[in-house]
Symmetry: C2
Subunit: 433 residues, 2 copies
Amino acid sequence: MSYAQDALLETASNDTIAYDITEDLTTEVGPRQAGTEAEARGRAWALKRLKAEGFDNVTLEEFQMPTWVRGDESARILSPFPQNLTLTALGNSASTGEAGLEGEVVYFHTLDDLRAAPDGSLTGKIAFVSHNQIPTQDGSSYGSFGPARFVGPSIASQKGAAAIVIRSAGTDYHRNPHTGNTNFTDGVNAIPAAALSIPDAENLQRIIKRGKPVRMKLKLTPKNIGMQTSGNVYADVVGSNPDLGMIIIACHLDSWDLGTGAIDDAVGCGIITAAAKHLKKTGKLKRTIRLFWAGAEEVGIWGGKDYAEKHAGTNHALAMESDFGAGAVWRVDFALPASAKPLQDRIARALHPLGIVASSLPAGGGADIGPIIRAQNLGIIDLQQDGLKYFDLHHTPDDTLDKIDKADVQQNVAAWALTLRELANYEGKLDNK
Amino acid sequence: MSYAQDALLETASNDTIAYDITEDLTTEVGPRQAGTEAEARGRAWALKRLKAEGFDNVTLEEFQMPTWVRGDESARILSPFPQNLTLTALGNSASTGEAGLEGEVVYFHTLDDLRAAPDGSLTGKIAFVSHNQIPTQDGSSYGSFGPARFVGPSIASQKGAAAIVIRSAGTDYHRNPHTGNTNFTDGVNAIPAAALSIPDAENLQRIIKRGKPVRMKLKLTPKNIGMQTSGNVYADVVGSNPDLGMIIIACHLDSWDLGTGAIDDAVGCGIITAAAKHLKKTGKLKRTIRLFWAGAEEVGIWGGKDYAEKHAGTNHALAMESDFGAGAVWRVDFALPASAKPLQDRIARALHPLGIVASSLPAGGGADIGPIIRAQNLGIIDLQQDGLKYFDLHHTPDDTLDKIDKADVQQNVAAWALTLRELANYEGKLDNK
């Protein structure tokens, strides 16, 4: 089918809704960290917008979650070459107190090097963990090097470190460090933990390489402010046959505090919403499509977990998620029952005109849909986006509207609309129960 | 002459000295704002390095200059869409005081629009001036749009504004605002003045475009700390004929405080020093070449002025400067007496193998050599560097070592070495007296 013959492909490829949602959410709300009043303004904005776009059953479901907020953050090399370094606290970092702390820096080129350090060898010191994350189209490098952030602080604490700084889990060369959650294992004391911007991490490496002991002063004053309100927003395109399980499509409404959350994940909300709206206009669908704008993803997938608990009795069939920025879709992965192979082939063919090819890798879903997928053994389709630039921006102050390429967003909307059309009108089994 | 036949071209094209100086100065000293102890460490470093590189007459000349230092800086939109904005104070900005100030934002798309505002129309308000600076190879766009920073604050103060924020005078899309001096006209009260990063400036424009009054809270607490010590460092390659005026080649040692001053201007010092060193090794030159590492350029060209005063009796013939980053040289401009046309043609031919072409535009020199050029009517040659990326980095936190392309630096060193060889062995008139 050519572009001109397929009205949905044509409309979706010229979409403006996704970009407008991205622009409006990042401008009219801006940063919206989970558990803060800014995320609450985001939920109010989302409810209003989803109603205005004409969706059914626009619903808010609130929940409570523990909340950590950033304080002051600064670092200075005291000797041998005094100068400030740019860094940002990791989510769940402990505070140094107002007075800050000083310590000798101990360098580890990789997380494995830190793991190999003898217990107690870091007592009173500041561990510095680097890594070699490079851009990868499938984002896999983050999986390999992200653990410096995910578990590095917990390991450093177990070795007795007073604090830890890591090279940001990212791929850009700007003085904009990458935040993100870290998790301290049960029974391990939280310590101050921060990410240096990559230029600062490389400068610190050069300073260390000159062979003199390096002393750093670190000040981080984040706080745990206890249980706060977050919430999920969802909306439906109601299908004609309530016996068919619904298709749930997800993004997340919260963002980290440093940027305005354009690529992570306002644009994901824009893409799924635009695709559903274009499809809705083509006529009644058999299955219900549910737009799930999750709350509190960044800080522990609280929204995804809350949804799975509250909707254990709701009949879902398949889940999809858009939470990997604004890059074009380049690959589609499936996790469907064998009986759905003809459907899978139809979707693959439908995506060919957009340059998207089917892989033989199983779809894994995303963070927000993980809990409901596991609870109900749902089918999954992943429209994999190009991630070569994603970790230039992820969790940094640079996650702002100007990074969005409108043509790439339109390609995403088209891919989603074509995929959803096949799914919403398919009466066969989609789940993996 | 082919590369292989010209040992100087070969050596300079494989230079490592310029990059090493850039790396070492930015690592071992880091940011070195004029008038601070960091600039003093920079001078000590420079004296030691220039001696180690084998130059003659390595000399420090101190002077006093008024010094302004940055304090806290933050901004927040209070209504209609509360969110923080990233900005940085401009040099000579007044303080808002610890409590900060609040005001309604009044938008001007250009500096001309601000000029056209009626006197008193900004009383108690925060002026916001934007502009459309785009990348230009010759850097001319900065000349056209930089005045938003140079004189915008003074004009806003005259119109009664409580404060001013400008779109950074730059071309990048990172959350790294561009600082730089502003100057308040005599008799005009200094007001708080800051530059928003470009993503923030565009976000503020979008917020304003939505039509509701915009209130901002601004906190800037810089201080004037009075007269402080700065200084120039110079070193010579002594020529055989003291009757021939010397060739002075300049860079500046001070940097803004936000970055490590790699492109502005450690690399300039690296380039001129490497070129002089390679040339020195080829044998005795007729004219003396003086390396002039100026102090306190960024904050008012205090070093250049002090040098011209103290060396009014020194016989200079021609001046050159490297202070436009690390981009390749693409053009050469001359301001020489007519009698030197054959020399000019020889230099132009010598630079052809490096891709550099002669222009018909008159050389203008640079900031640090301006005072001595004017005082002694010196000849000038400008090796013009590609400026397409320069204003992505200029005066930002992003001015760090990782932005330096080694091959481009080598091309600069080669261009300087070939030009200096012609000049240092030329016995005709070079000045414009």
